[in-house]
C-alpha cells in the first residue's frame, strides 16, 4: 500500500511544479517589444479605412515611395532616384534595388501603379493628384512615370503623405481589390510581417521582423530614413481599461504605452522605471464644427460670433488639464509647423463672451436652437461639447445638447437633413496635427459637395486651396496658405479649441523612439 512520506510528498510537488511550469520555462530567445496601442486594430486595410490604428499597422507591414522627415519634406523611401521634366508635367521614378514583398516577390512598377490607383480612389490628396494625372505608366520593372495634365505642386507631398490615407505599396493582386472593399491578403514589403494566425481582434496583434527587408542607409527621421527592425517581434495588446494598462506598464508586463490618459500622468511620471514624454511634436487640434447648411449657422456672422465665445484656455483646461500638455494656437495650421501664421486669427483669438454677444446681436440671431451632438463615450469630446454649450448659452444662443455614442454621431453627422429630420448644428472632434498641416486638409475644404461634414461653401477658399496645390515655390505656397486661413476665418468655418499633446510612457529599457506625429516601431529596441 502506498504511504505518503515526506520524500514522496516532495517528489510529487517537484513533479507537479515542473508540469505546471514547463511551458513557461521554455527558452524564448526572441526579443519582443510589447506595446499598448492607442486603439484596437479592427481592420487591416489602411486604404479602406482612415483609422489611425490601421495607418500605424500599415507602416509596420508596408513601405511608401516617399516619406516625410521631421520638417515635413518628402524624402525618397522606396524610390531611389527621380527626375522631373522641364515643363514639370512628366515625373520619372526609379525604385531601389532589392525591394521585396513578404512572399519573396520583387516590388515592381506594376505594383506601385496599382497601389496608387487604389489609394487615389479613396484619399483626398490622392483624388486631387489623380485629377491632374493624365497617365501612370510602368517604363520597366523598376521605373514608372507620371504624366500630368498640368504642373502640380504637391506630387511628392501627396505620395509621401504621412497620415491617413497613406499611399502604401501593396502587391498588384492585392491593390486591384475594389477600394471600397477590404483586402484579404496582407502581404507588404515593410520591415515587419503581420502574423495573421496570432491576431485576436480586440486583443492582440503580432508582427515579426521581415528578414529580407532592405532599409535605407540614412538615419531614421520621422517617417523617412532607414527602417531597421531591432526586435524580432512587436506585440500589440489592446487594453480597454486605461488604469489596467498603466498597472501593466508599471508591473513590467508591457514596455510601451502609446496614449495614456492625462489623468494617469502624475502616477506614471512618479515611477522611476518609466519615461513619460511628448513624442508627437504637433499634437492634436480641437475642432468645433458647424453645419453650414442649417440655421442658425448658415450665416457666417453667426458662426463667427460663436467662435468669438470659444476661449481656448477654457477648453484645454477643462478637457485636457495640465498645461504641460496643451497650448493655445491661433493658426489653423498647427503651431510649430512651416505654414503657421496669424492671418485672420483675431476671431479665434477673441475668447470673450461680451464681444461674442455683441457680434451675435449684430448678426441678427433669431433664436433658432442649436443642436450640439455630445459623444458621451469619448470624454474629451464630451467635455468640449458641454463647454461649448455653456459658452453659447452665455452668448445668447438657445442650445440643446443631445447625448449619444460616437457611432451614432458619425452616422448622424453625414445627414444634411433639417434638425427635425435627424440633422444637426454642431459637433466636436480633433485632428492630429499632421492631418491639418496644409490647406489640402479636408477640414479646410470650401467645396460643399466633396468637403468635410458641415459642408462649408466658399469659392474664394477653394481658389486659394487650388493655388496652394499648384504653387511650385515655398513663397507661393506660404502666401496661398495664408489666404486659405483668411478665408476660413472670414466664413467662420470651424471653431479651433487649442493644440494638445498626448505623451507616450515607456519603460526605461526601451530605446530608439522616433519623434513623429505617427508612432513608428522600427528602430525601437528593448535592452
Amino acid at each position: 500500500m502506498f504511504r505518503w512520506t515526506r520524500r514522496s510528498v516532495m517528489a510529487a510537488s517537484v513533479a507537479l511544479a515542473a508540469t505546471f511550469a514547463a511551458p513557461a520555462l521554455q527558452a524564448n530567445a526572441e526579443s519582443v517589444l510589447r506595446v499598448i496601442p492607442h486603439a484596437d486594430l479592427k481592420n487591416l486595410d489602411p486604404i479602406w479605412t482612415t483609422a489611425y490604428i490601421s495607418r500605424n499597422h500599415g507602416y509596420l507591414i508596408y513601405d511608401t515611395l516617399f516619406a516625410m522627415n521631421e520638417k515635413f519634406e518628402p524624402q525618397p523611401q522606396m524610390v531611389d532616384t527621380y527626375e522631373v521634366s522641364d515643363d514639370k508635367k512628366t515625373w520619372t521614378f526609379k525604385l531601389r534595388d532589392g525591394l521585396k514583398f513578404h512572399d519573396g516577390a520583387d516590388v515592381t512598377s506594376e505594383d506601385v501603379i496599382a497601389s496608387l490607383k487604389r489609394w487615389g480612389a479613396r484619399d483626398g490628396m490622392g483624388q486631387q493628384l489623380m485629377g491632374v494625372m493624365e497617365e501612370m505608366t510602368a517604363v520597366d520593372a523598376s521605373t514608372f512615370q507620371f504624366k500630368l495634365k498640368e504642373p502640380y505642386g504637391l506630387v511628392l507631398e501627396s505620395i509621401g503623405k504621412i497620415s491617413s490615407n497613406v499611399p502604401f505599396i501593396m502587391p498588384k493582386r492585392v491593390a486591384e481589390t475594389d477600394p471600397f472593399k477590404q483586402i484579404e491578403d496582407y502581404t507588404g514589403s515593410g520591415p515587419f510581417v503581420f502574423v495573421k494566425e496570432e491576431w485576436v481582434p480586440g486583443s492582440k496583434v503580432v508582427y515579426k521582423k521581415f528578414a529580407d527587408y532592405k532599409p535605407r542607409s540614412e538615419e531614421p527621421n520621422a517617417a523617412s530614413g532607414g527602417k531597421i527592425a531591432k526586435v524580432d517581434r512587436v506585440e500589440w495588446t489592446y487594453f480597454p481599461d486605461q488604469t489596467t494598462a498603466m498597472n501593466a506598464l508599471i508591473n513590467g508586463e508591457v514596455d510601451f504605452f502609446e496614449q495614456p490618459a492625462n489623468d494617469l500622468m502624475p502616477l506614471l511620471e512618479a515611477n522611476d522605471g518609466l519615461t513619460v514624454e511628448i513624442n508627437d511634436p504637433l499634437g492634436n487640434i480641437g475642432f468645433a464644427r458647424f453645419n453650414h447648411l442649417l440655421p442658425p449657422f448658415d450665416k457666417a456672422e453667426i458662426r463667427r460670433a460663436a467662435i468669438m465665445a470659444m476661449k481656448q484656455e477654457d477648453y484645454m483646461t477643462g478637457a485636457v488639464g495640465d498645461q504641460k500638455f496643451w497650448k493655445t494656437c491661433y493658426s489653423v495650421y498647427p503651431c510649430g509647423t512651416p505654414l503657421e501664421n496669424d492671418k485672420g486669427s483675431e476671431v479665434m483669438a477673441t475668447g470673450d463672451i461680451e464681444k461674442a454677444k455683441a457680434a451675435l446681436e449684430a448678426a441678427g440671431y433669431d433664436g433658432t436652437p442649436v443642436v450640439i451632438m455630445q459623444p458621451t463615450d469619448i470624454p474629451l469630446l464630451s467635455s468640449f461639447s458641454l463647454i461649448t454649450a455653456e459658452k453659447l448659452r452665455n452668448t445668447g444662443f438657445k442650445v440643446e445638447v443631445q447625448a449619444m455614442d460616437w457611432s451614432t454621431l458619425t452616422s448622424r453627422r453625414a445627414k444634411r437633413d433639417p434638425v427635425a429630420d435627424g440633422g444637426w448644428n454642431m459637433f466636436h472632434t480633433w485632428w492630429i496635427g499632421a492631418d491639418v498641416i496644409d490647406p489640402m486638409a479636408i477640414a479646410f475644404s470650401g467645396n460643399p459637395d466633396k468637403g468635410w461634414f458641415g459642408w462649408a461653401s466658399d469659392e474664394e477658399l477653394e481658389a486659394a486651396r487650388k493655388a496652394f496645390a499648384n504653387a511650385t515655390s515655398a513663397e507661393e505656397k506660404k502666401a496661398a496658405a495664408e489666404k486659405v486661413q483668411e478665408r476660413l476665418s472670414a466664413i467662420g468655418a470651424s471653431g479651433h479649441l487649442g493644440q494638445f499633446f498626448v505623451p507616450v510612457a515607456y519603460r526605461k529599457n526601451v530605446k530608439g523612439l522616433i519623434k513623429s506625429p505617427v508612432q513608428f516601431f522600427w528602430n525601437m529596441s528593448v535592452e
Binding site: A24, T49, V200, G202, F239, P240, D241, R412, I442, D449
Partner: protein, 314 residues
C-alpha cells in the same frame, strides 16, 4: 425523461427564431451606421453610400433578414463588418477565456458560498452568522471594478504575487500560467456570487432545519454533520441550484467589466466592442449564442431538480 428533453430542445427552435427576428430588427431600427463609422472623417456622402452598398446595408430589411436567416440555417453567423473575419472564428477565439473564467468562478463560488451559507444557517444568530451576512452585504455593495483595482494594487503591484492582466490558456500556455492569470479575476467575480449564493443557501437551509424530518433525524441520534449534509442541504438544494444556473448564464454574457479590468479577451468585451462599432453580424451572432446558452442552462437546471428532489418527475 428523454421525450421531455427532446421536447424542450425542440421548443428552443421557435424561441431562437423570435430572438433572431427581434435582435435583427432592433439593430436595424437603432441609430448608427457602420458604413459611416468605417468611412471616417474624410468621407463624402457618396463614399458612405458605396460602403453601405458593398456591405449590403442598402438592401430592404426583409431581404437582409432573409439572407441572414439563410446563412444561419447553414450554421454561418456571417462575417464581421470591421475585421472581415467569420463571426464563428471571433466567437471561437473568445469562448475559451469566458468559459474557463465562468467555470473557475462557479467552482470557487460553490466551494465557498455553500459551506458559508450552511454554517450561517446552522449557527443562526451567532457571530458566524452575522459575519457571513456582513460579508454578503459588502459583497453585493462593492463594485466589481473597485474590488478588481484593490486586488491588483495589493497582490500585483505591491506584493508582486500575480500578474496584473491578461489570459493564458491552460492548453497552450500551461496550467500554472493559466492559474496565475485567472486567480484575480475569479476572486473578483466570485465575491458577488458568493454573497448571493451564501444568502440563498442560508435562507433555504434555515427553512429546512425547521422541518419535522430534521427533528426526527436528530432524535434518531444522527450526527449534526449528517443532519446538515444529508437532510438539510440536499433538501434545500433546489433554489440554490436555480441561482447557480442563472449565475452561469449571466457570467457567460455579462462579465464585461471584469474582462476589461483584467484585460481578458472574452465574449463580454467582444459584444461591447461590436455594439459600440455597430458590427451587426457579431452582435446578432452573440445574442443568439447567449440566448441558446440561457435556454440550455435552464434545461439543465430543470433536469438537476430531479437529482436533488426525487419527487420531481418529467
Amino acid at each position: 425523461m428523454l421525450a421531455y428533453i427532446f421536447k424542450r430542445i425542440l421548443a428552443t427552435v421557435p424561441v431562437m427564431g423570435v430572438v433572431a427576428l427581434f435582435v435583427f430588427l432592433m439593430l436595424r431600427l437603432s441609430p448608427g451606421d457602420p458604413a459611416a463609422v468605417i468611412a471616417g472623417d474624410y468621407a463624402t456622402a457618396e463614399d458612405i453610400a458605396r460602403i453601405r452598398e458593398n456591405l449590403g446595408l442598402n438592401e430592404p430589411i426583409v431581404v437582409q433578414f432573409t439572407k441572414w436567416l439563410g446563412q444561419l440555417l447553414q450554421g454561418d453567423l456571417g462575417i464581421s463588418i470591421f475585421t472581415n473575419l467569420p463571426v464563428t472564428t471571433l466567437i471561437a477565439q473568445r469562448l475559451e477565456p469566458t468559459l474557463l473564467l465562468t467555470l473557475t468562478t462557479i467552482v470557487f463560488t460553490v466551494a465557498v458560498a455553500i459551506p458559508l451559507g450552511t454554517l450561517a444557517a446552522w449557527k443562526q444568530g451567532s457571530l458566524i452568522d452575522r459575519g457571513v451576512m456582513l460579508f454578503s452585504v459588502a459583497g453585493f455593495s462593492i463594485p466589481v471594478f473597485v474590488l478588481g483595482y484593490i486586488l491588483i494594487y495589493v497582490l500585483s503591484i505591491q506584493l508582486k504575487l500575480l500578474p496584473v492582466q491578461g489570459y493564458k490558456s491552460p492548453f497552450t500556455d500551461g496550467l500554472w500560467p493559466f492559474l496565475r492569470h485567472i486567480t484575480l479575476p475569479t476572486i473578483t467575480l466570485s465575491v458577488i456570487y458568493i454573497a448571493l449564493i451564501a444568502r440563498m443557501t442560508r435562507a433555504s437551509v434555515m427553512e429546512v432545519l425547521q422541518e419535522d424530518y430534521v427533528r426526527t433525524a436528530r432524535a434518531k441520534g444522527q450526527s449534526e454533520f449528517k443532519v446538515l449534509m444529508k437532510h438539510a442541504v440536499r433538501n434545500a438544494a433546489v433554489p440554490i441550484v436555480t441561482v447557480i444556473g442563472l449565475g452561469i448564464a449571466l457570467l457567460i454574457g455579462g462579465v464585461v467589466v471584469t474582462e476589461s479590468v483584467y484585460n481578458i479577451p472574452g465574449l463580454g468585451r467582444l459584444v461591447l466592442d461590436a455594439v459600440l462599432k455597430r458590427d451587426y453580424p457579431i452582435i446578432q451572432g452573440l445574442i443568439l449564442l447567449f440566448s441558446f446558452i440561457y435556454i440550455l442552462i435552464n434545461l439543465l437546471i430543470d433536469l438537476a431538480y430531479t437529482v436533488f428532489d426525487p419527487r420531481i418527475r418529467y
